[in-house]
Symmetry: C2
């Protein structure tokens, strides 16, 4: 019954280094629940009790945070292979921290967190790796959160831009690269308004720190960019 999903299951980080046949055996023990959802369905509401964490096999989900006035804010999208709710499911409170809504028809695998932490009686290799993978996944999320905090703690727009561009520079290993986001998304990510972002980028261009046209960026003075940060 899991055969249909074999190619997706291979891409799930939680199942890294576990062969499909191993996995099939483990599922007898893990007993994951597989559910199909239609677009716009709501999987969980913020504050609901969380029993299982989810693994998205197919489709796309959106996480929304409810604000006081009833409006909601998009937190992030979940793509196939990714987990959601796993951090909350291991926490004390065990409440969904955000609303989960289906953006495209989706297939979700649900698993109780206890199955990750309780080793099964026959001490299988797969189970041990599962635990290790889970720790890695959560650690990685924590590291990414740290990164986000670094961006947000920076005060001036110029610093944010420099910070971001130097990160991209390291990532691309080149002074010329394309931005992965458009101006709107970037301004959102840096938590500033688009015109303010554009203005500051224009200033930096004037001063000869960078050059750009639309998404294509050229870093002209790495040292000065570094000293801004």
């Amino acid at each position: 019954m899991y055969q249909n999903y074999s190619n997706i299951l291979e891409k799930v980080d939680l199942f890294n280094d576990i062969t499909f046949s191993e996995l099939e055996n483990m599922f007898f023990c893990l007993r994951p629940l597989i559910k199909e959802y239609k677009k716009d369905e709501i999987i969980a509401l913020e504050g609901d009790d969380i029993k299982n964490f989810g693994v998205l096999l197919q489709g796309k989900l959106m996480l929304y945070k409810e604000k006081f006035d009833g409006t909601r804010v998009l937190l992030k999208a979940v793509y196939p292979g990714q987990l959601f709710g796993e951090i909350a499911s291991f926490s004390e409170k065990r409440k969904w921290p955000a609303q989960v809504q289906v953006a495209k028809n989706s297939t979700v695998m649900f698993m109780p967190p206890e199955k990750i932490t309780n080793t099964c009686t026959n001490l299988c290799r797969g189970h041990r790796i599962l635990t290790l993978n889970m720790i890695k996944i959560i650690s990685k999320k924590a590291i990414n959160l740290n990164k986000t905090i670094e961006y947000l703690s920076v005060k001036s727009i110029r610093q944010k831009i420099a910070y971001y561009l130097l990160d991209q520079y390291k990532k691309n290993n080149s002074k010329n690269f394309m931005l992965e986001m458009n101006r709107n998304e970037l301004s959102d990510f840096l938590n500033v308004t688009r015109p303010s972002l554009s203005r500051e980028m224009a200033n930096m261009k004037k001063e000869g720190l960078i050059d750009y046209h639309r998404s294509s960026i050229k870093l002209l003075d790495i040292d000065s960019l570094g000293s801004i940060v």
Copy 2:
């Protein structure tokens, strides 16, 4: 040999729900390394390879982040019972993310992360709980990081204040409470300057939202505070 530390070991979250005698047995397998440090010693530099994560048994440590210009910023303090470096030790890169320096003469227990994830041959109860505790600890850190991000994403000072005060309100379960931080620390936490914080608090006092004197706070209009957030 671990007897000296028994009262401290009981307070370490990583060892929750594990009795001291169980722990002593486990240490034969875990083989933790216990080291003493003098004030001002440097335990690790940012970027160093990380082999073990640490558990602070006694003393106080400071984590510093190096900036481009050589200056460093205090990230946070580590107190007895807390872990440090555990997230990085489970990540791909395995580098120390910050400099670790001794603030007060300290005793540190180091443990290799593999010992947490590899169940030992005799499948002891303690080991399973250790893994569970570690997942809980990392999850909790991730949740706290999320909280910090929420504070930082808020744009206006007034929103930050409202956000913070409502959090404290929930925590204390009363409209009257004492702030746990002085103005300097609070302004630092909210990532604004002290005079700006004071000014905005004064405005909110004028408008009848809150009342305060020094550290003692009284929330006068919860609904309005809520609608600010």
